[in-house]
Symmetry: C2
Subunit: 340 residues, 2 copies
């Protein structure tokens, strides 16, 4: 039989209340009884049952993780995984476990809010990049603290965190401009992707600011932030024969896909086409040529998200939102080395 508080209490000759108080760092317990009870706990291998605790205290110690949106994002995308990984580490240190909600359409499962209420998660991290869907909106406007990653949440008690996407695009354009490129193209994720749209807008704005001509044929959308989108987009361009001289891909994976298409057609990077990606995932360092990219600080994104959520849960502090500065990482796909 597994020991519970009652067992411990009677073994130590104290009441259940006292045992509970010790577990929860109440101050009205003497050092003496505390050490005695603690010893007995160790001895019997006492392990509290979280569900009972959650029931009584309404605190589950759980943070819900939601990958929202149909196609743009998921577990296997390096950018989001790195953010979540960093988040997980940080929130783990702060004493929370992570509950992953599947975004599969499960007949028995309700919407996100219901599932959050049912499992009593104390807060949620929602990763997306798509537009806010209704089911997420409900959650956003619920009393459950939420923080969006690449998703602009604005309910009370919600906040978000993302890189400055306008600036991301602007940096790409600027770099191309400085290197003398004039015919710029853009490959985005699906038009449903808010993030991708913002970057596109930022890209156009920057081009105008530099007095660059915008060719609509060189602005294309894929389906997702994954590799295939870039591959297909570039293939289409190649088939038409109407190619930009430099393209900014709204994710490194997309850039990788574009590079693959280029290589298949024996076009060289950056000589024929220069490429800048976005995210700075690990693979970008390893491809040939190494990918110039606009880095998002994934580690900081995750950490910040963890702290913001923690504050919101525990101090009721109004969550603000953070927009992080991106950073240009120059490697070889942009043609810098040629210019030298």
């Amino acid at each position: 039989m597994r020991a519970n508080m009652k067992t411990i209490a009677s073994l130590a000759g104290v009441s259940v209340s006292t045992v509970s108080k010790i577990m929860n760092n109440y101050t009205d317990v003497s050092e003496e009884t505390k050490t005695r009870v603690l010893a007995i706990m160790k001895q019997t291998g006492y392990i509290p049952v979280y569900s009972a605790r959650a029931l009584a205290s309404r605190k589950s110690g759980l943070i819900g993780v939601i990958f929202a949106g149909e196609v743009n994002v998921d577990f296997t995308h390096p950018f989001f995984v790195e953010v979540i990984n960093s988040f997980k580490k940080q929130i783990g240190v702060l004493g929370y476990d992570l509950l992953f909600f599947s975004n599969e359409k499960i007949p028995t499962a309700g919407d996100y809010l219901s599932r959050c209420l049912a499992s009593q998660v104390e807060g949620c991290i929602i990763i997306s990049g798509d537009q806010v869907e209704p089911s997420i909106q409900d959650l956003d406007h619920s009393p459950i603290p939420c923080i969006g990653v690449d998703l602009e949440l604005n309910g009370p008690g919600s906040g978000y965190i993302m890189s400055d996407n306008m600036k991301i695009a602007a940096k790409a354009v600027e770099h191309f401009y400085v290197l003398g490129y004039k015919e710029l193209g853009y490959i985005g994720s699906s038009p449903d992707s808010e993030i991708s749209n913002i970057r596109k807008q930022g890209y156009m704005n920057a081009m105008e600011a530099f007095g660059l001509q915008i060719n609509p044929d060189w602005f294309v959308s894929g389906e997702t932030f994954f590799e295939l989108s870039g591959y297909q987009a570039m293939q289409k361009w190649i088939r038409t024969g109407d190619l930009p001289r430099a393209v900014f891909a709204s994710s490194d994976l997309i850039a990788l896909g574009a590079m693959r298409a280029l290589k298949e057609h024996r076009l060289s990077i950056p000589q024929d086409i220069a490429i800048i990606g976005c995210d700075d995932i690990e693979a970008s360092r390893y491809v040939d040529p190494p990918l110039t990219t606009i880095r998002q600080n994934k580690d900081k994104l995750g950490k910040l998200a963890a702290h913001m959520l923690y504050d919101m849960i525990n101090n009721q502090s109004a969550i603000s939102s953070f927009v992080l500065e991106p950073e240009l990482i120059v490697r070889e796909s942009c043609g810098c080395s040629l210019a030298l």
Copy 2:
């Protein structure tokens, strides 16, 4: 105020027991009252509290996910992520949520078994590739059903699932042999990695079977299954000037790292050195040259794990273990195209 069973019960003019029975598909409730209660639930937006349910029924509906081992494995490794992704989908359909335990050393958190007991997970999936550490061993021999991915669990109520690692290595050797390579090298993960060791053994066995000479200098270990291991291993070889003609890397990421080192020194693949990887992660298709690899069926691995665990939890069926057949995927890094 959030509606609970008592609310529903009084609104419907029945007892709490009856409401509970309806939630749990008991048969001793008339169709009539059932529909009435169900209607009221819908109307009031009733959502059951899982922790109360878990407390009363001892069923949490949770599966614990553990990335064990220090260095070899983690959230960001494409192979394991894909397995987990597939597992998550399948187990989600079966009605379970996923609870991720962090492997960080958190002062307040206990060992894995304690945390599993505390959160009342009904089963665990443990992803590793390392040797079984004590804390995992305890869990393995506990009454909690466990299934290891790339980790040979053998406690009662435990099982595991992995690819046939001997065969993985044998296929690599065989392919090299057929292509006429005689000087074969191997890059593994750390010597702590059980999986890597088995592959190494399989590699040697196969070489002997083909009458190939084994040069110990060409068998090296890295630190992890990640890219850096391959990069460093290959660099060391290059520095000594004593290089094998063909190398098998025990993960695609390692292969990618090796390729990077090669490219940096202007050695060409496969002309100077042929490479075969292992896993068949997505990136392998996209690198230059595309990586020949031994594919592990990640989707099947995850699905099977889900079903095995489900059976164990619900039918008490003795978990067996599965060893999946690997598959050689020929691309260009092995030199097949040259031979033609």
